[in-house]
Amino acid sequence: MTLVEVWDLVKHYPGERSWFGLGAARAPVRAVDGVSFTIASGRTLGLVGESGSGKTTIGRTMLRLQEPTSGRVRFDDNDVFALDAARLRALRRRMQIVFQDPYSSLNPRMTVAQTLREPLEIHRLNGAVSALLEEVGLDAAFAQRYPHELSGGQRQRVGIARALSVEPQFIVCDEPVSALDVSVQAQVLNLLADLQAKRRLTYLFIAHDLAVVRHIADDVAVMYLGKIVEHAPAAEIYTQPRHPYTTALLSAVPEPNPRATKQRIVLAGDMPSPAHPPSGCPFHPRCPHPKKSERCRTEPPPLRPVTPGHLAACHYAEEPM
């Protein structure tokens, strides 16, 4: 059953004005440029992309932490962008977010207990701080501590406990383990998986690290310059990528195996500015596909099914690299 549906989501930021705000406006930044997907209840969609691909903007816009330019988000029969403030607040109880940097997302002047009690008070809920702490693997003694007294992993556990406090159905996890060391990262990933199983949570898991996403996601969507370029079940996208960008991204992940023989595809150049996306396929200037043609320069490839359930936005998706 579909819990979350995103339809043609667009978020443009107005271009800056030159001459200290007096001159002509520059081209708008197309952070998210027509993105659609659905997430079924109890599942995890991994949203993968490099800096500037628009993945974080999607998560924030879905919760209306930022207002969209256009598009629609449905959450369990609610039209999220059409809700008034009171109904939005009620809905936020069911949709939560866990941020990347647990230090800057916790109030340094509030103890862990105060941080966890605040959402309960806003939503007039009864809940025990100690039970929440226990659920995320922290001793009850942590309730009286301040964020600076915690390690990165402990802070992220508090961030997760805060999201859980209002008993949401859906959590946007925005790079929740990127700032953590590898041994602690594994602890937090396992915790997120356990909580999902126990509470039947639905996740949008945003990350730049394809390896991390492989360990948590059921489906994966890959973003490039504000658009989804490939969307498929996780098992498939990692073994049979259809878009050359996904192929290159996978090949660039350093493998912890000194005898690895995989062919590394090194893309030329940087990601173009989302204020001036290239014509045609946005990936064409860096694309290493041998079939790359004039068509790629002029005609934007739609995101289309290549095999059932496997979408790719490439004119040559039937002949992957």
Partner: protein, 339 residues
């Protein structure tokens, strides 16, 4: 057959301590670290936050801020037969940035925003090689071309904010390599970069190392990087070296339980979805390392001896210098997880 090549950089018994803020404790960030770097090789120093890997690299060039830090007497950092820790400042400056160069994690904070990248690259050549400004500028353009920046004769006049993150890191590399150093210390050189840009920078470093024949000390938390780029590896935990081995031996026969746990904790793109192995607990504070083996509170195999007595680096006896700071080397039958 020739004998083993002479050691280029020898680090012995390095201890770098910090006085903590309230003057109450001493953080033993690097606590008795030894390793050798040979000409032309890449040595990986791997570990998590707080293990002492960055302080080790800063100590080599005496870049640790003093106070609060200090390198203890008895430490030795020998480069081509000279103890860098005993060199007078002018002689040290002749080594720093010239024969031993360094690149840092965050290129934006390591570049000066008010000078052009050309000026910053040329500076080392003017100081160390006494080139004229004009000659240094053309060397800078040459270096920009070498590190793969398009239109180097235009980019040379750019300021750091005009460049992307990947290009800034290329500029850092150009700056570090303009004097053709014998040793390049690369401290998390790609951590701030996206994965496709990381691949570009690593390819560049591999190519330049090959062309210039320098040795690289690669400081990283990323075991994937080490696997693909290092010849030998030093694993650090809690200010100590806990394992050293050739890269292949480390990955195929990890001996210290920390190395073993770390390898199992790495998420992999080539493995099906499964629960990750996590190392319980967290790295202890540098002001209060546990007694005995510093890893014993988190170790799945630890027994009484581990809490009482710290093991030395023990040779596992493979004839290739693979060592581990663990009593399991002497009592391998105890490698049975407790839980």
């Amino acid at each position: 057959m020739t004998g083993p090549p002479p050691v280029l950089l020898r680090v012995r018994d390095l201890k770098t301590y910090f006085v903590t803020e309230h003057g109450k404790g001493t953080a033993r960030a690097v606590d008795d670290v030894s390793f050798d770097l040979y000409p032309g090789e890449t040595l990986g120093i791997v570990g998590e936050s707080g293990c002492g890997k960055t302080v080790t690299s800063l100590s080599i060039l005496r870049l640790v801020p003093e106070p609060p830090g200090h390198i203890l007497p008895g430490s030795l950092i020998e480069f081509e037969g000279r103890n860098l820790l005993a060199l007078p400042a002018p002689e040290l400056r002749a080594v720093r940035g010239n024969q031993i160069a360094m690149i840092f994690q965050e290129p934006m904070t390591s570049l000066n925003p008010v000078f052009t990248v050309g000026d910053q690259i040329a500076e080392a050549a003017i100081i160390h090689q006494h080139l004229s400004r004009r000659a240094a500028r053309s060397r800078a353009i040459e270096m920009l071309r070498l590190v793969g920046i398009a239109d180097p004769d235009v980019r040379v006049d750019d300021y750091p904010h005009q460049l992307s993150g990947g290009m800034r890191q290329r500029v850092m590399i150009a700056m570090a390599l303009i004097c053709h150093p014998k040793v390049l210390i690369a401290d998390e050189p790609t951590t701030a970069l996206d994965v496709t840009i990381q691949a570009q920078i690593l390819e560049l470093l591999d190519r330049l190392q090959h062309e210039l024949g320098m040795a690289v000390l690669l400081i990283t938390h990323d075991l994937g990087l080490v696997a693909g780029h290092a010849d030998r590896v030093v694993v650090m935990y809690a200010g100590r070296v806990v394992e050293t081995a050739t890269t292949v031996a480390l990955f195929e026969q990890p001996t210290h339980p920390y190395t073993e746990g770390l390898l199992a904790a790495v998420p992999r793109v080539d493995a099906p979805r499964a629960r990750l192995h996590a190392i319980p607990g967290q790295v202890p504070a540098a002001t209060a390392w546990p007694p005995g083996c510093r890893f014993h509170p988190r170790c799945p195999y630890a027994w009484e001896k581990c809490a009482a007595e710290e093991p030395p680096l023990l040779d596992i006896g493979d004839g290739a210098g693979h060592t581990a700071r663990c009593w399991l080397v002497t009592e391998p039958e105890r490698r049975v997880p407790k839980r």
